[in-house]
Assembly symmetry: C2
């Protein structure tokens, strides 16, 4: 049945969306059936693939105003579907307070009994791109997920927030979703030329040991260019260091998954 992965870190700008799009697309290229769910009202995962959220997207699904089938969008890329979002999704943050067991809303919609299509039959992997906060939408994603992959920029401010994120994952695991694990920490925007990146990377590997992906993503402008063309990196520039990195991340993700 489908395996759910939240891509989360409350620190802003650490490549959550870049990782969500490119890991999902790379796994699609490796012949997995993949769904990318945009859980961020910024709608960057949606726009980064040149999609439009339309009239029925994650907000409407969460509020029970549309079916899963109406919200899903097929992309031009092998094996990749998207459940889009836009600014309207902010409304869910507010309206959750009126919903009993609001933390389970996303899980019920995607994994609940009779979730129309039965995502389990249609997809191998579901990725949830989270906003830069530990608010209601991120909690919903953590409750729906089997594991969390944490993109981590190798810099001081990003490192500051990691203990709070780990504590939040632990709280969700204890109170709401016993299966939840930290699947891995992925070092992003690594600049080999600076000591800062290397020093932080060494710290993180020492502290989290086997949880840190061997594959890391270098700073590569092609990754920042790709979304303005609506393409994952493997379609935009397969020869770039960014494409190579996310293919390596995808292979390591599958290895780690096989080991669980």
């Amino acid at each position: 049945s489908a395996y759910f992965v939240a891509i989360a870190n409350q620190k802003g700008g650490v490549a959550k969306t870049t990782t969500s799009i490119n890991l999902a697309a790379a796994l699609g290229a490796l012949e997995k059936r993949v769904l990318l769910v945009d859980c961020d009202p910024q709608g960057n995962a949606t726009r980064g693939l040149d999609l439009d959220a339309g009239d029925t997207h994650l907000y409407h699904l969460l509020m029970g105003q549309c079916s899963l089938d109406e919200a899903l969008v097929e992309t031009d890329f092998p094996g990749l579907w998207v459940l889009p979002a836009d600014r309207e999704l902010v409304g869910a943050e507010v309206e959750f307070v009126n919903v009993e067991d609001w933390q389970y809303t996303l899980r019920r919609r995607l994994r609940g009994e009779g979730s129309e299509l039965g995502l389990n039959e249609r997809f191998d992997l579901v990725f949830l791109d989270c906003p830069p906060s530990l608010g209601h939408l991120t909690v919903n994603a953590l409750v729906a997920a089997d594991e969390v992959v944490v993109p981590l920029q190798a810099e001081f401010f990003a490192l500051q927030g990691i203990s709070e994120l780990v504590a939040t994952v632990q709280r969700v695991k204890t109170a709401l979703n016993p299966k939840l694990e930290i699947g891995g920490i992925l070092l992003t925007m690594v600049d080999k030329r600076t000591n800062l990146s290397q020093e932080v990377a060494d710290d993180v590997r020492r502290f989290f040991e086997g949880k840190v992906y061997t594959a890391q993503v270098p700073r590569n402008v092609r990754l920042a260019e790709a979304p303005s063309h609506g393409l994952p990196i493997i379609e935009y520039d397969i020869k770039s260091s960014g494409a190579e990195a996310y293919l390596a991340v995808a292979r390591e993700f599958l290895q780690r998954l096989g080991g669980r």
Copy 2:
């Protein structure tokens, strides 16, 4: 009397904190009396200056549990004081719903009648570092502010969010704070070597015309290193391109202020 500036952009990782710390410190060096208020539960502005939020910080001030005097912290840097924050500040987002006119809470605490010390006598400038969202804390900062400076990373995802930010500023101005203006847009992490940065910068200058600062901040690893030493860039490495840039931003800020 004191002039209040919100540093805001819901897009994550665009250098809101880096700009807050370094613009405030540069203005302190130019002999202004400056207060930096950390309005982000991540507490990056606090930690980036090697400060500890302690037992009385912004959360306690907002909840009326401490006085302004008890929350303010003097730094080692000329003219610079800080009103710190830490994770506890998240509680304010939740508790605001029980407060009538919650949007004015920060404004009342900092600018209200009899706000003990009377910030007006003690400071020339007050900077409000915002979290990566348009939630209650950012709205409080926009209601307290005279103007907004928008750090903008010259990349696709950052550009996507700008219209939503402008719309939010407009809504706050109409409904809650008629004096609020967009003081300026500051291009950050500009990489002169890539076309992407230049193309986006040209787009932004065409669209926003005179609102875009002439000064821009280049990508400079010294800016990312400085917070791990608890220092503003002008103290960490005065010769760096980052220090030069933020001194130029500070001078242009004062010029633009003189013109208002």
